[in-house]
């Protein structure tokens, strides 16, 4: 089908320039503040070898870590955002978009992929947090819905990897309605008897957590990922409540019965194979 074919991508020059700036070989862990050798972290699935802190990683890297041989096919690469409201704050939404497109090499904040995991076919939609905080608007909602509808049609398991601040305000109500649209699409999976695995990574907030992401048959979170509806700062401001240590972290959600398990990035692929094995959708 023609809409599967890749079309031209936005130019990547800004990102390239940034990479070319000589950076240190060492990075500081956000959690334990330890100075670590960068390559060592990268080899370790971007996890701090000292404290197990999971650094934020992009959508592509995630997909590579999960799919067999790091290979997958991308779909809906031609879907591009518009500016339905003509939104402008300090910067025009259009300019903001262009800026992020150049920086990330993506048209919007989600990649829809298909491939195999230990020979099980699986469709994965992964958020790119570095694209406007992984916010959900028209393109993200559309790709998610198409991904779920396709999974239902092909009777293939579906997985979403959330990493998002919530709905994107620059597309106003249209963004809000993507919550309804993507939640509705989960019914298609259910009707087709297809498992929906939802992975919540740091952070999964607002309109994304309050829609499809919390509707997985199996909900997995990454260690220490911030997951919730309202941001911790908003909560503190609202009633001056001081929040307990570890509030809205993955461990907090597990304790309160909101998710099924916490899985380290290193273990994720194996865990996923186990789950897919259970649902027995083996192609070969």
């Amino acid at each position: 089908m023609s809409w599967f074919r890749k079309k031209k991508f936005p130019k990547k020059n800004v990102a390239d320039k940034r990479v070319n700036i000589p950076e240190g070989l060492w990075i500081k862990c956000n959690n334990c503040k330890e100075i670590i050798y960068k390559k060592e972290v990268e080899r370790n699935c971007d996890i701090c070898p000292k404290c197990n802190y999971h650094f934020r990683i992009g959508a592509r890297k995630r997909l590579e870590l999960i799919y067999d041989n790091g290979q997958y096919e991308e779909f809906d690469t031609h879907l591009r955002p518009k500016d339905p409201l003509g939104f402008k704050d300090v910067v025009k939404y259009r300019d903001r978009l262009r800026d992020y497109q150049e920086r990330t090499g993506l048209w919007d904040a989600l990649i829809r992929a298909a491939g195999t995991v230990d020979d099980y076919k699986i469709i994965i939609c992964a958020f790119e947090f570095s694209f406007m905080g992984g916010s959900m608007a028209s393109v993200v909602g559309e790709k998610l819905s198409r991904g779920m509808e396709r999974a239902a049609l092909e009777k293939v398991p579906f997985m979403s990897i959330a990493s998002s601040g919530g709905a994107r305000m620059q597309e106003g109500l249209i963004s809000l309605m993507q919550m309804a649209k993507t939640s509705a699409a989960t019914i298609k999976l259910e009707e087709a008897g297809v498992p929906f695995i939802s992975l919540l990574t740091d952070p999964t907030m607002g309109g994304v957590s309050a829609s499809f992401a919390m509707l997985g048959d199996i909900i997995i979170a990454e260690p220490k990922a911030l997951i919730g509806f309202a941001g911790p700062r908003v909560i503190e401001q609202t009633r001056g409540q001081t929040l307990p240590e570890g509030f809205q972290r993955a461990e907090f959600l597990l304790e309160h019965g909101m998710i099924d398990m916490i899985v380290s990035r290193k273990e994720l692929r194996n865990k996923l194979i186990g789950i897919l094995n259970y649902f027995q959708n083996r192609l070969k």
Binding site: A180, K181, A210, I227, A230, I235
Partner: protein, 317 residues
């Protein structure tokens, strides 16, 4: 009669008061009636001038007007009788959402909606119309009750948003909203949602998935409150006035974006000025829509509901 006047309503306040005084005098002296007519004309002109040229921020203020009718007011004014029901059968009763069994023009329906509360005591009791997860779970329980007995569901939306708090997060605010969104798509009875005041983001949408989505003329519906939007974009929540503009949160905007199906008109000075009149209009609009929806089978209804939301989104292919 309104008790609270917004800044831009101030010119009307004097006229109202003057007419009121003249009316009292007219009881004894009939000559004053001519003056009353004159004043009323002046008032109508003034009203048109003010209400036809409202800015998005002024509409936001109207949508939040403390004298605006709330769900319980509509229940009283629109329904022949109303039996409120309580509790989520799980954790607590959350009065920020009220609901129950009602009859409208002889037709049995389930009505539910956000309730803000008018005085301080009520406001606290209703948590300013900001639900916790148990509120959404109660709403879902009532919707399922409606489905079980094949009654249409009417929801009235008027909330600043879902409550941002420790308890709300502990008890799964996100999940509660998400489940409502999904379940409203498969509810086998007609659903009509009306934004009567403030349609605050996900907390509003959790009652807002419907076959027909309506907005009252001066209500607002937004992905984020102008205050929060300003706090993020300008790092200054007092710039809310400026944020109301680009967010396109008025009923007209929502209609143009094809997010809602209909705008229900309000009386000349807004819903807060005449509860009875707005309730009468709303009742008629709801009955018309129910009549229309009655023609569809359950399957038709559900597939149309899916398609309606599936189509929302603007992008280039």
């Amino acid at each position: 009669m309104i008790r609270y006047y917004l800044d831009f309503e101030k010119p009307l306040q004097e006229l109202y008061q003057e007419i009121e005084r003249l009316r009292e005098l007219a009881d004894t002296n009939k000559e004053y009636r001519v003056d009353i007519k004159k004043m009323e004309k002046k008032l109508a002109k003034q009203q048109r001038e003010i209400f036809n040229n409202l800015t998005p921020w002024q509409r936001t203020q109207l949508a939040r007007h403390p004298d605006r009718p709330y769900c319980n007011d509509y229940a009283k004014l629109m329904l022949d009788d109303f039996i409120p029901l309580h509790g989520d059968r799980c954790f607590a009763e959350d009065s920020s959402i009220v609901g129950g069994l009602g009859r409208m023009d002889g037709l049995s329906i389930v009505l539910l909606g956000h309730q803000k509360g008018r005085d301080t005591k009520q406001k606290i009791a209703h948590n300013f119309g900001m639900p916790h997860p148990e509120g959404y779970r109660k709403a879902l329980r009532l919707m399922r009750l409606a489905e079980k007995f094949n009654k249409p569901v009417i929801t009235l939306i008027d909330t600043p948003g879902a409550y941002p708090g420790l308890g709300a997060e502990e008890r799964g605010q996100s999940g509660a909203i998400a489940i409502n969104l999904r379940e409203m798509f498969r509810l086998k009875v007609p659903i009509i949602a009306v934004v009567t005041g403030e349609g605050g983001s996900g907390g509003a949408l959790a009652l807002g998935v419907a076959d027909k989505v309506l907005m009252l003329e001066h209500s607002i519906y937004s992905v984020i409150s102008p205050e929060s939007c300003a706090a993020i974009l300008w790092r200054n929540s007092s710039k809310a006035k400026d944020a109301a503009e680009p967010l396109k949160l008025t009923a007209k905007d929502a209609y143009k974006l094809k997010i809602i199906d209909e705008i229900a008109p309000e009386p000349p000075c807004g819903a807060h000025h005449d509860h009875k009149a707005v309730a009468k209009i709303l009742r008629r609009v709801i009955l018309n829509n129910l009549e229309e929806l009655r023609q569809f089978s359950v399957d038709e209804l559900l597939s149309a509901r899916y398609t309606k939301y599936r189509r929302i989104g603007q992008l280039d292919e």
